[in-house]
Symmetry: C2
Subunit: 236 residues, 2 copies
């Protein structure tokens, strides 16, 4: 039907379904995680989404670990797309703004894949796209006047914030009945400082009880404190 000399090319007949490829696996796994959560990403479920048996996946990835490596690479590639490419120009005057914008863009992408940070943290190897991303971050610092040594320390200090996420241990649960004075009084014995802070904030603005920790605000505060400390060390 198609002007395809398919009996001469080694390329196989597309047939009814497009053939599997590593990229199709990774993208399907990302879609599956977005729709049903990361725990739904099993080899069997993924295969079902692709209209194939689970064992067919092993012709394209060595095992599930390799699949997850590809998934992480795909998410970082989404950051690249969102940025319109990793190339930017930064100079001694703009490094702080350029770095900050880049990190907040990464965060927007991560918010679309809320399961991704947990997966990234389980990986031991660094994927090719992640390496390229880190290389450009490093380039921004060097252009900004950082020495190799300070830039190196800085990359470590930024840590996962570079990809737009951070583990916040301090997450008062808004489902807890902190509105009840009885509960507060009972908690105050063991947790005087937290209860004191909660009480004060509730008193100042009763509407903030639920979800009073604005993740975006806290994330930006964390970056800015870090950038302040770095600027001082840069001798600015």
């Amino acid at each position: 039907m198609v002007s395809n000399t398919m009996d001469q090319l080694t390329e196989s007949d597309p047939g009814q379904r497009p053939p599997l490829s590593r990229e199709r696996l990774f993208q399907a796994a990302i879609d599956l995680a977005d729709r049903r959560g990361i725990e739904a990403v099993t080899m069997r479920n993924l295969a079902a989404d692709l209209g194939v048996e689970a064992m067919s996946l092993y012709h394209h990835v060595a095992n599930k670990q390799a699949l997850l490596d590809g998934v992480v690479d795909g998410v970082v590639a989404d950051i690249e797309t969102e940025l319109g490419g990793f190339d930017v120009v930064a100079d001694a005057h703009s490094w702080r703004k350029v770095l900050r914008d880049r990190i907040l863009t990464a965060r927007r992408v991560m918010l679309r894949h809320p399961w991704a940070p947990a997966v990234i943290e389980t990986r031991t190897i660094t994927t090719p796209t992640t390496l390229r991303y880190m290389d450009t971050l490093l380039g921004i610092l060097l252009q900004g006047g950082f020495s190799y040594d300070l830039a190196h320390h800085t990359m470590h200090a930024i840590g996962s914030r570079a990809l737009g996420f951070s583990q916040e241990l301090f997450q008062p649960n808004p489902d807890d009945d902190t509105g009840s004075n009885d509960t507060l009084a009972a908690m105050a014995i063991e947790l005087p400082n937290i209860v004191g802070m909660l009480s004060t904030i509730v008193h100042d603005d009763p509407d903030t009880t639920l979800g009073w920790c604005d993740d975006q605000t806290e994330f930006e505060f964390g970056i800015d404190v870090l950038l302040d400390g770095l600027e001082r060390r840069l001798g600015g």
Copy 2:
């Protein structure tokens, strides 16, 4: 045999093995993870260590999630032991040193349980001991002159560093053959900044190739940058 009025007390006979308890489960799980890694902590393996069947564990914990919550609580309790208790005196002059020491103590405990950070990150609820730990950290800040608002932001900004760990994305793999000039040249096309940095550091000190990222140094740098930024905001 023992002068134990066991037929009158409802306390059961200790018999050949001490009875199970939530605390014994948690401690056995921590020991198992230390010995054989967190992936070896299955209900069946844990039961075997305790000389019991897997299903018996369910009389003491609701499910594996509850077991892991208890494990995390136990690890943070280790920090408390290492600190000799959570109570400290800090004043406006000592908050920085007291906070820094406490975090580095937490880090020492975490290094004894290298699997713990990954488990902590999977938890959604905050355990009682973790809450008490965070309350004392908050107390140090308040004693140091932080407003509730700044102290609150600070707790978020410190994040997992409060418990002595952080995810470092930037971990050049020392197993990679970065010593070979051919490999470096090939990498330099895609990763000019990373390769440039590696080359310079290798040139300056050839011995640092393997394990040239000193985790402890980088961790302390990260805290100190953060503390610098906070000190500035405190108006010091």
